[in-house]
């Protein structure tokens, strides 16, 4: 049985535990769960049915770093779910590196480490003979990396473009359909839990840029960093601009664009009947390949759908390494 450590116990960690408990029982054993305050470790496996709402109230919870438990004696796979940090990738990048050094496979939903050091991390994984999976980092439940790994690898990819940030898409959607000013739409998004209190990553296009870098590096072997991206967010989009677009049967969407060896994030005019023109918090990714042509994937870019991506990565690792 594959043994997991879950590091990061926020919304996503809890949703993953719930799925493991309800529909995945028996195939994965969770030996370690950690949050920012400490670690719960049970060599024989944490009883997921007995977990209190607050992890720190669990019997055996200790105020220690999980890093000492990332050891092949107790764990096979690290599921790394700490918050994204685009400055230095910490603490996620430290956990990922420690796990790989210890010979553990890694599944992560954390964009920071991959946006900052994609090539280095992939090389380290290869050197150690471990798998690093990151389906949950872009597009939530949209299986873009799995699709590439198992279906598109033999085709030559030309470009990628997409609506990759649900919060900015929600704001632009409300501006388009309800004529709502941006600040109100943002406030509404905060109230609904769609936007973070500090929504700069979303509205300034940084989150879209991070995801574009991961897509470019993973699918096009672009060797790009966040600093290579030309970023324009949605802060200067006015209702007048939305109205002008609407008069032409179009709207404005924040797009991540990977083409001709360049990555950019910018608002674009897009026809309302364009396959990429999705609304609300939906994400859409369009891959253009030499033989396949254009392939558009649409799905929820955040929330519970991301658990599907985590489980898919865990399944993939189990299939490749732990099931005879």
């Amino acid at each position: 049985m594959m043994r997991c450590a879950i590091v990061g116990y926020g919304f996503l960690g809890r949703a993953l535990v719930k799925s493991l408990r309800e529909s995945y029982g028996g195939r994965v054993k969770v030996t370690c769960i950690a949050n920012s305050r400490g670690t719960l470790f049970k060599e024989g496996g944490v009883d997921l049915n007995q977990l209190p709402a607050e992890l720190s109230e669990a019997v055996g919870f200790r105020e220690v770093s999980p890093i000492d438990y990332l050891d092949k004696r107790w764990v096979d796979v690290l599921v790394e779910l700490t918050p994204t940090n685009v400055i230095d990738g910490r603490p996620g990048i430290d956990y990922i590196r420690a796990a790989m050094r210890a010979g553990l496979d890694v599944v992560t939903a954390n964009k920071g480490p991959l946006a900052l050091a994609f090539d280095e991390l992939m090389r380290e994984a290869e050197d150690k003979g471990v798998l690093l999976r990151y389906e949950a980092t872009v597009g939530g439940g949209i299986p873009v990396f799995t699709l590439h790994r198992y279906y598109l690898k033999s085709d030559k990819l030309i470009s990628i473009r997409g609506i990759l940030n649900g919060t900015s898409n929600y704001i632009l959607t409300r501006m388009h359909f309800e004529g709502m000013p941006m600040d109100l739409a943002l406030e509404e998004a905060r109230m609904l839990g769609i936007a973070e209190r500090d929504s700069k990553l979303d509205t300034e296009g940084i989150d879209t840029a991070i995801k574009s870098v991961i897509l470019a590096n993973s699918l096009l072997q672009a060797k790009k960093r966040l600093s290579d991206v030309k970023i324009t967010g949605i802060n200067s989009i006015t209702l007048d601009a939305i109205h002008a677009a609407k008069e032409m049967g179009m709207t404005i969407k924040l797009m991540g664009l990977v083409e001709d060896g360049k990555i950019s994030v910018e608002p674009r005019l897009i026809r309302l009947n364009h396959p990429l023109c999705v609304h609300g918090t939906l994400n859409a990714i369009d891959i253009i390949a030499e033989n396949l042509g254009s392939l558009t994937l649409i799905g929820h870019g955040a929330g519970k759908s991301t658990v599907t991506a985590l489980l898919s990565d865990l399944n993939d690792i189990a299939r490749l390494k732990y099931i005879d």
Partner: protein, 156 residues
């Protein structure tokens, strides 16, 4: 790529045939020929020839070949254009924005302005050659940005 080539043909038998031969030898596929007999000037009949060439270089070679026969090429024009709309947000100097389009050789079909004078929204409808469209849009974006504005272009 489709081009319009305007030649000034002396009104003598065989000159059109020789012109067309040069176009065909350089990979051109003739689409249509229009004689402007009502516009004869200096003994020449302006003739508009619409032709598909594989690229701009073939057009240039044809031009040289035709002129080597003593037949003047009065003009060439790229015909494959598309009408495209961009939004420009921010810069209050509308005149300078229009100048930017002109300096890049972009033909403006229509302009409308909305919003506050301090943060106007310009909707500009323009004609863009299909060949080199992306480069032109990039240059336009850079020029608009240097005026403190944001250009929002149309996604294909």
């Amino acid at each position: 790529m489709r081009f319009k080539v305007t030649v000034g043909l002396p009104d003598r038998p065989g000159t059109l045939l020789r012109t067309l031969e040069q176009i065909a030898l350089n990979g051109g596929n003739i689409i249509s020929i229009i004689h402007n007999r009502e516009r004869i000037t200096g003994g020449y009949v302006p003739v508009n020839i619409q032709v598909d060439f594989p690229d701009q270089e073939c057009l240039e070679r044809s031009k040289v070949s035709i002129e080597s026969l003593g037949i003047p090429v009065l003009g060439t024009e790229t015909l494959e254009k598309r009408v495209e709309t961009v939004l420009i947000l921010g810069p209050s100097q509308v005149g300078r924005v229009v100048d930017t389009f002109n300096s890049l050789g972009l033909k403006i079909v229509g302009v409308s302005v909305s919003g506050l004078p301090s943060s106007p929204c310009l909707k500009v409808v323009m004609e863009l050659p299909i060949q080199g469209r992306k480069t032109l849009l990039d240059r336009l974006e850079g020029a608009v940005s240097s005026l403190g504005g944001l250009l929002i272009r149309e996604e294909d």
